[in-house]
Amino acid sequence: AKKMFFSNRRINIMQLIYSNEKTPEEIASGKFSDLLKVEAASNEKDNVEEEENDEEFFKIIKSQDKDSESMNTIDSTKTYLDISNLDKWDDEVMLESIRNRFITGSLEDDSSV
């Protein structure tokens, strides 16, 4: 079952990127480790869109003007970095979890790097 899950997953990443209507922001924020959830979310989203597509002549533009220059819409490589949850690096367990990324880490459990 595990094998099937991973083979499934491989296709999904390429599908997500190349044949999907979702915005890059949605894909990037959806964790790769939990693609099933992402897929479920996308299905949900489709449903919502269908509901919205009622036969109205005038479309109401979502009021995005005010913060349209917010961090996500600025054309820059750097603003796509997540600087919001840095507090997790105050946690000792979290700090130790990347110990093996350094040459000072133990060589035994290389697989966890």
């Binding site: 890059p24 003007d65 990347i98």
Partner: protein, 364 residues
């Protein structure tokens, strides 16, 4: 110039996001691009001054490009010419940092008729665009892997902090005929951390405080942490007070990871120091052989490489990179084979290059 003749098909995009990369990819691929709906639903529609400035810069580094902008500035039709290069001066203004302008040009530079020699004026360090320090210590080193080495340099002659800027940089890049393919899947382990703490128009002591606070976070992992302090005085320190920190971690296989922060009003050097150090840890936890800031650059150079397989290991893809992958497919018809490596949550990406050749450079 370009290895593909224009098919006469116009590629169409909408929205002001990802404007730079589309113009750059159009220039490299020789395809005509049309961008519509640039802030057409905004109270203040059309191009911003920095975008117009970028278009002007693009006109300077190419020959024969035509850019048609409609009256409201909401639609651009760009017909790329050839990349010329040479000695160019550009005032970047103060609405965006120099990084906004320099970053995309780095990929054009190797394919010019003449080597690029750019002098830019503006803001060198801020929190929106990649700072000059990171470009110099990380981004340019990525080019090295693809065979662009000699004569590549970035000098920060004057520093300028936001909001008034006043910095100046000089960028030189040699031209190459073709790129080398890369096979870079071993990320190695971090062996050293370097950094640059710079300050302008504030007490030099601030730079030392930046260094101390960053070291206090990073020294637990590795003793080899060295952060240079770079204090500019007088004329060379621009028009606004400010300080910034840029950190680089290098692995045993030469993979580089960067993190950087510039101070906003009211932030102490200690805040910035520990914030940057944590950002670096964040970057390291993602793994891969290239950091999130430079994913796009590496992927683009892989696409432009010879008709051979290039392979890279990357950590988590950023939204910017995902859009970049889509745009790369639209312009060059190259899709990456992406395989996830479940042992350490990284992705292995492979592609066959298009065999881009710069015919202005003679073979030697």
């Amino acid at each position: 110039m370009s290895n593909k003749s224009s098919t006469g098909k116009v590629l169409s995009f909408s929205g002001h996001e990802y404007l730079r990369q589309r113009l750059i990819l159009a220039t490299l691929s020789g395809k005509i691009v049309k961008i519509i709906k640039i802030r057409s639903e905004n109270d203040n529609p059309g191009l911003r001054d920095f975008e117009a400035s970028f278009l002007r810069l693009l006109e300077k580094v190419t020959n024969g490009s035509t850019i048609d902008i409609n009256y409201a500035g909401t639609t651009i039709l760009y017909k790329p010419g050839v990349i010329t290069g040479g000695k160019i001066y550009h005032d970047c203004g103060t609405s965006r940092a120099i990084g906004y302008f320099l970053e995309p040009l780095i990929v054009l530079a190797p394919f010019g008729k003449q080597p690029f020699d750019l002098t830019f004026n503006g803001i060198t360090n801020d929190n929106v665009d990649t700072s000059m320090d990171s470009i110099r210590t990380v981004t340019l080193l990525q080019l090295r892997r693809f065979g662009i080495e000699e004569g590549l340099e970035l000098k920060i002659t004057k520093r300028g902090s936001a909001p008034l800027g006043g910095g100046e940089i000089n960028f030189k890049c040699p031209i190459v005929r073709t790129l080398k393919p890369i096979q870079f899947t071993d990320e190695g382990r971090i062996k050293r951390i370097r950094g640059i703490a710079c300050c302008t128009r504030v007490s030099p002591q601030n730079a030392n405080r930046l260094v101390d606070s960053a070291r206090s976070v990073l020294n637990r992992y590795i003793p080899d942490v060295y952060i240079y302090t770079d204090v500019y005085k007088g004329e060379e320190s621009g028009k606004s007070p400010g300080f910034a920190l840029s950190l680089v971690a290098e692995s045993t296989t030469g993979a580089l990871y960067s993190a950087e922060q510039a101070a906003l009003p009211g932030e102490t050097p200690e805040d910035i120091g520990s914030k940057t150090a944590k950002l670096l840890l964040n970057e390291l936890s993602k793994g891969g052989c290239v950091d999130s800031l430079n994913q796009w650059l590496t992927l683009l150079l892989m696409v432009l490489g010879p008709e051979d397989v290039s392979k890279i290991r990357v950590g988590k893809l950023t939204a910017f990179t995902i859009q970049y992958l889509r745009d790369l497919r639209d312009f060059f018809a190259v899709t990456f084979k992406i395989k996830s490596d479940s042992t350490n949550n990284t992705l292995l990406m492979a592609c066959v290059g298009v065999g881009y050749v710069n015919y202005s450079k003679k073979t030697n």
